[in-house]
Each structure stands twice: as C-alpha cells, then as structure tokens.
C-alpha cells in the first residue's frame, strides 16, 4: 500500500469517525428537542383542554384559573367583535384587539364575562393547538392556539367563534398556566338562526345508510397491514339518468349501493332493482353517469375496491344492462374516478384513482407515500369498449389517490388532470396534446404535500381561469410536523434500519423542497388548499382566504349556494373513529 493511499484511508476513517460523532451529537440534540417539543405540546394541550372545558361549562372562575395568579400583561386589549356583514340572517363579526393597557386576572375575568354574557349554552368549547412557536427553556413555551366556541345565545340564535391567540405558558406548581397572551388577527364570530338549509333526507325518502364492505372481514380481503382502510369509501353521484329533467342520486357503498330516482314531486324512490343495477355488490366506491356511447343517455361506470369495475349501458326508459363483459375496465383498489375527452376524439375517456393494497402495504411514510396500486387511463374506443393506455400516457402516478378531476388549467384546449393524494404530494398531469402527460405539479406550485382527499376545479375569484380547491387534514396537532419531528423521522429510519428503504423518499422530498426541507413538516397538516391560478402557476391562499378549517376533509367543491355571483365552498368533514373529541 502506498503512503498516499494509506494517508487517504486514515483521513477518511478520521473523517468518518468525526461525521459519526457529529451525527450522533446532532441526533441526540434532535432527540432532546423532539422530546421537549412533545412534552411541551402535551402540557399545552392539557392546559388548553382545561381552559376549553371551563368555557364549555361557562365556568369563568375555572377558566380564569388557567392564568397564573400574578398574571400581568402590560399590553393587552379587549376583544372587540366588529360587524362585517349581515345578510341572509347571518351576522359575521371580525375580532380586533382594543386599546392596549395593563391587564391582570381581573381584566381577563371581565373579558370572559363580556364574551359569554349573551350565551345560553355551549355545545362546544375548546382550543386547538396550532403551533408550538418557541420552547425557550424547560417549563416555558410560546404557543399559537385557536379558541373555538359553538353554542346558542339567549336570543335563540346559534353562534360560532374561532379566534387565534398567541399564548406564553409556564409550568406552575401543579399545572401549566398562561402568563401572557395576544389576540392574533383572523378571529371571527358568526351568528345566525340556523335556518337556510335543513336536512330533509328522511322527509324526501332518501333513507340510505352506509354499510361497511363485508369483504374486509374475510380472509381474502382482511386489511391486515392497513386496517384504517375499512373507514374509506362512500362516494355519491348525481345525474338525470332517466332524462326527465330531475336530478337523481346514486349512493356508492361497501355493501349495498343504491340508485334513487327523483320523482319530481319532492320525493325520491329506490329504483336500484327496477333499473337493473346490482343490489348487494360489495366494494362499490364510486359511480360516474356518463354518455359513453354518445346516444343521448347516461351510462354508468362503477369503480370498485374489491372486485372488477363495471359498466352498465343505459337502455333508455330508466333501465341499464351490464356490458362489463365486453371490455376490460380493470379491477380492485379503486376509490375515485373522473371522465373527460382527453384525446379530443369526441367521446369520454375514464381516469381511475387507486389506493394501496391494505392487505400487504402500509403507506411508506406518514407524509410522503408513493406505493399505491396505480391509477389507470381507459381510452374510449367506441362501442363501450376501452383500452388501458396508462403506461403510454404516463399517468399511473403512484400516490394514494383520493381526488381526481379534469380541467384545462393552462387553457391550451385539452383537459389536464389533477390528482390529490393521501399521505403526500399531488400531481398536476399536463396534457401534452399527443396522448402523453407530464407531471408539472412542482413547477406549477400545485404539489400540495398534504393528505389530499378531494380535488375540484373552479373559478373562485371570477378572473376567467380555473383555480383548484383540495381537501387535506388540518390537525389540532399540526405541531407534530414541526421541523424537529421531521428530522426525528429521519433518525428513526436509521435506528430502525429502514434508512436504505426510506432514503429515496427523503431524497425525493428534498428535490421538491430544497432549502425549505425543514418547513416540509409544517405543511403537511396545514389543511385544505385554495390554489389560485395565475397564468398556469398556482398560489395557495387558503390561510388568507380562511378556507383551511380544522378537520379531516373529504368531498369539497365550489358552488354558489346563495346565487350572489361568487363561488362558495362546501367541505365535508369526517373521520370519527373514537369517543374522544380531542383529535390526533
């Protein structure tokens, strides 16, 4: 061995040892700060839960006890509710801080008295912890939290408050206490009579109730690896399937999907059997009513999680015939579907979104997963026959797709695809006009790293182009995802010996985030995204616009419910899996 080579080897070894030592130090510091973050978060949640419970009971003394005894805030102002709008029987107030002065616990008591004076009862009183902003020393922290009240006033009106605060909190002798607070901008009170909409499902004969897919209880389909999958499914579709001018409804279901005909007299009737559709077929997650043979009526595509997809030809007169045997529409793991004429040949093609196989796979990481069973593009070749062109079109994607939709976002005349994925990034598949697609999500700033569960195009700002609304998760434990936590995942991968398996994931995230890597964690549970289109580039304005509420959002859509000329948004929330109202 030459002297040069041995010197290089020695230096390399020394370098390696140094890297390991530094890495170890870094790792142990991270470990310490992650543990501090976790314990502060836990204490903050305990304090905020106590405060919220006190408010819910309208027990002001108990609420005041959440502030330290010698509470002295030199710069605090009264919480003032300013009327912003009053229409359709709804008053919207925005919160602002009044003239600042020195506050004690007595001032806090007076403020809470003022806030709760008109309240008859609260059905909800809680705080959502949004961020742990600082952990300057053991037993001290600065957090951002949102006060959330819902209830009834003495005058009979219902009301809801959401108001963000920054709070300085400290460990006391028995429990943590608030030592200072600051009202942040964006707080709102909305008051109304609770009239305007009424759930008339029972009155109009929509007696549908969802059922679980019985296949998940069988040996063949038991979701051994990813059990929470059993909570999925439950799409719903509307179309005028019998052409009488009244919109009908189809409820997809795990066990017994149903077609309800709108009878035009204010009621619906279950016509599943009369129409010739399956009565007790498992795993129907999504239905699309489409005129696939251009004969003037709506045929029906059914996408299934546990079995082959199905196609029914509309025979006119309100009946369908199963023509699935004539063509291959793929099978299994299907959750969502959407149609458009991607090749502009005058007929509708199908794009089908899939999840992972819950029997053998977990999402590879909580925040960036690409191990789905793959999406499919089915080209309509006429005569209700389809060809799978996924590979040549380049639209398999690989994310856990829960929202797929077409829209010509770049206004070049052909429809593009947006794919919202659970557990990680979305795709914007630009139609190149030659039968192929390119994923331009990153360069168009439409990548949206959240837990995507719905996607819709619409022009929300009336500027003539298609914006996007995407459902995600906005967790009361967004602080989980803070930078230290993300590094923790990395270290944990090393500890568990899965780093080689996980490295491509981390590298891919890095390729999208670059220097913003540490902020990635802050973004994946920040809630729904409103992506405004500006010449084919998108900007997420959800936070400013106020459309990223707390919750786990599924179907969401633009629609102008009040016919005032501006697109509103409905967002359905759900993932109730336990009795506790404190979310994960």
């Amino acid at each position: 061995m030459s002297r040069t080579r041995s010197r290089i080897l020695i230096y390399s070894l020394i370098g390696l040892v140094l890297i390991l030592l530094a890495g170890g130090l870094w790792a142990s510091r991270l470990q310490a700060s992650a543990e501090r973050l976790a314990s502060v978060g836990k204490e903050a949640i305990a304090l905020l839960s106590e405060y919220g419970a006190a408010l819910q009971e309208l027990d002001i003394e108990r609420a005041v006890a959440c502030y330290e005894e010698g509470y002295a805030n030199p710069q605090e102002g009264a919480w003032i509710e300013q009327l912003d709008s009053d229409r359709d029987g709804v008053q919207v107030y925005s919160w602002a801080a009044g003239e600042p002065g020195a506050w004690t616990r007595d001032d806090v008591r007076e403020q809470l008295n003022r806030l709760l004076a008109p309240v008859a009862a609260l059905e909800l009183g809680k705080f959502k912890l949004d961020r742990v902003e600082e952990t300057p020393a053991t037993g001290k922290a600065v957090v951002r939290a949102v006060m959330w009240l819902r209830g009834r006033r003495d005058d009979g009106n219902v009301f809801e408050v959401q108001a963000p605060f920054r709070m300085w909190i400290e460990a006391g002798e028995e429990s943590w206490k608030i030592t200072r607070q600051e009202l942040l901008s964006g707080g709102k009170t909305v008051v109304g009579r609770g009239a305007g909409f009424a759930d008339e499902a029972a009155a109009v004969g929509l007696d549908f109730s969802a059922q679980r897919n019985p296949m998940f209880a069988t040996e063949e389909w038991y979701p051994k690896k990813f059990g929470m999958l059993k909570y999925g499914s439950a799409g719903v579709s509307t179309a005028d399937y019998d052409g009488d001018g009244w919109y009908d409804l189809y409820f997809a279901d795990g066990a017994s999907a149903r077609l309800y005909r709108n009878q035009g007299d204010g009621t619906f009737a279950d016509t599943t059997a009369v129409a010739g559709l399956p009565i007790d077929l498992h795993g129907i997650n999504v239905a699309l009513f489409l005129d696939l043979d251009n004969d003037g009526d709506k045929d029906l595509f059914l996408g299934r999680f546990t079995g082959p997809n199905l196609l029914f030809r509309n025979e006119g007169g309100g009946t369908f015939t199963d023509v699935s045997a004539n063509t291959d529409l793929g099978r299994n793991f299907v959750v969502v579907a959407t149609a458009a004429d991607y090749d502009l040949d005058g007929d509708l093609d199908l794009y089908i979104g899939r999840y992972l196989d819950p029997r053998i796979n977990l999402p590879t990481t909580l925040f960036y997963t690409r191990n789905s069973e793959g999406n499919s593009l089915l080209r309509n070749d006429g005569d209700l026959r389809f060809t799978d062109v996924t590979e040549e079109a380049g639209v398999r994607d690989g994310g856990l797709s829960l929202g797929v939709t077409w829209g010509d976002y770049d206004e070049d005349g052909d429809p593009d695809l947006y794919v919202a994925n659970d557990f990680g990034r979305n795709a914007l598949l630009r139609n190149e006009g030659d039968g192929t697609f390119s994923d331009v999500a990153a360069e168009s700033d439409a990548i949206d790293f959240g837990f995507g569960m719905s996607a819709s195009f619409g022009d929300v700002d009336n500027d003539g182009d298609l914006d996007l609304y995407v459902s995600n998760v906005h967790s009361g434990q967004r602080w989980y995802g803070q930078a230290t936590t993300l590094y923790q995942y990395l270290i944990n991968s090393i500890k568990l010996g899965t780093i080689l398996e996980d490295l491509p994931t981390y590298r891919e995230i890095f390729s999208y985030t670059g220097g913003d890597w540490a902020e990635y964690g802050d973004n994946f549970v920040k809630g729904n995204s409103l992506l405004l289109n500006d010449g084919g580039k998108f900007t997420d304005v959800a936070e400013i616009a106020g459309v990223n509420p707390f919750g786990w959002y599924w179907s969401s859509t633009f629609f102008d419910y009040d016919n005032d000329g501006r697109q509103d948004i409905y967002a359905a929330n759900g993932w109730i899996t336990g009795k506790s109202h404190d979310d994960l």
Binding site: K126, A198, A201, G264, G458, Y561, A572, K579
Partner: protein
C-alpha cells in the same frame, strides 16, 4: 401520546391499530363547513366565512361524498351527502344527508345545459362564461370530482339582483365557440353545440316552455322555444 411515540410506532403499523388509538378519534369531531365567499380583500384574494352552523347545514357525521345539484329545480344548488359506516353501529352517523337550499332561490340565477355534437355528447370539458352587469363568471362542465363524487352537469350561475345576462359564451371541447347575448334570468338555457339555444323555465315542479328567446351573436339559427 407524544410525537416521539407516534414516530416509533409508525413503521410497525401499530399507529393505525384500534389498540393504539384507544378512545381517540382520528378527527376532532369537527363538522362540515359551508364557506361563504365574501368577495375579494384589498389584495384581490377572496375572503370566506364559515356559515354552516348559522345557516343550518351542519351535522355531526362522518361525511365522505357530496353531490351538489338543484334537486328541487328551484334555481339553487342543494347538497346530498354520503357518510362512512365507521366501526360503530350508530345509525344517525351512517345516514345520508340531504340539505335543501332555501337561500339561493331568493336571488336571481341562470341554469345552463349543454349538448355536444362534435364534442362528446355530455359536453364534459366545456367552459361556460357569462357577463352580467360587468361581472364575469365561469363554470366548467365536469364528470367526477371532489372525493368519489359527481355533481350536477347542469351549470348554475348566481346573478344576485340582476335580471339579465349580457353575454354567455360556450367553449366546447371541439374548439367550437358559441356566443349569446341578453338572456333573461331565472331560466334554463339549453344549448346545442353549433349555436342552438332553447330558453326554458324551471318551474319547480315541472319544466315548461317560456316565451323569452335569446339572440345568438353569430348568425346561427335559434331553435324554437319548446316545452319538453
């Protein structure tokens, strides 16, 4: 539960087990949101207020799919919602919801139906824009969006207090552009690719012909007004 514990349990899959979660719910029992567009702020970005509770469209459920359409043909959009069955047998949480809108009908509107000829017959992908009192609105004809949902293909435009639409343009997938001017509000415009238009009234219980016709801008023949 701590964030660190959460990380440790991830790879094993334990995090998604019922045992790990205990009484904890994956979500915090939040409800559905109806976010009203209050118009643009000084920066041009629209601002929203959640009016779901104030307007009665709130329900403690485990919602999934939503299908929006004018189910009662009264000129505004209603919501049908499917729910997840979950692990429990609580019927109230599994039941479909049907929120009938009683707000939109107090204002003016225009509904548009499209029939493709060169384009796909459903006219999916067509974009309709209208101008009313100097304001522009756009709607896209879709088939499958949101989460596992399909909404009304008939498109609805809210017109506030306006009684007419000054201009309506359809951009069909084939590239064909049809334009119409001066349409009366509170009507259903049924447009066939290539310029045909029928103006119908949505009379709540039944569709009946109305006497107003729209003049197409192009020298295309206007279809006779007809009752279905």
């Amino acid at each position: 539960m701590s964030a660190v514990a959460h990380i440790d349990e991830y790879k094993t899959g334990f995090f998604n087990s019922d045992e790990y979660r205990g009484a904890m719910s994956w979500n915090g029992w939040e409800a559905n949101n109806l976010m009203r567009n209050e118009g643009p702020g000084a920066d041009g970005i629209p601002r929203f207020s959640d009016v779901a509770l104030a307007l009665g469209s709130i329900r403690e459920g485990d919602a999934r799919g939503v299908a929006v359409a004018d189910y009662d043909n009264d000129g505004d959009l209603d919501m049908a919602i499917n729910h997840n069955p979950g692990d429990n047998d609580i019927l109230e949480r599994r039941k479909a919801a049907f929120f009938r809108n009683r707000i939109g009908e107090t204002r003016s509107w225009l509904a548009v139906d499209l029939l493709g000829t060169r384009s796909n017959r459903d006219a999916v992908g067509a974009v309709v824009t209208i101008e009313a009192a100097g304001e522009r609105q756009l709607r896209l004809r879709t088939a499958g969006s949101s989460f596992a949902s399909q909404h009304s293909q008939r498109l609805y435009f809210g017109l506030g207090e306006h009684s007419r639409v000054d201009r309506l343009t359809v951009r069909w997938p084939s590239g064909q552009v049809d334009e119409f001017t001066d349409l009366e509000a509170r009507r259903l415009a049924r447009i066939t690719e290539g310029g045909g238009i029928e103006i119908l009234s949505l009379a709540g219980a039944s569709l009946e012909g109305a006497s107003d016709a729209a003049e197409p801008v192009a020298a295309e023949p206007v279809a006779a007004v007809a009752a279905p």
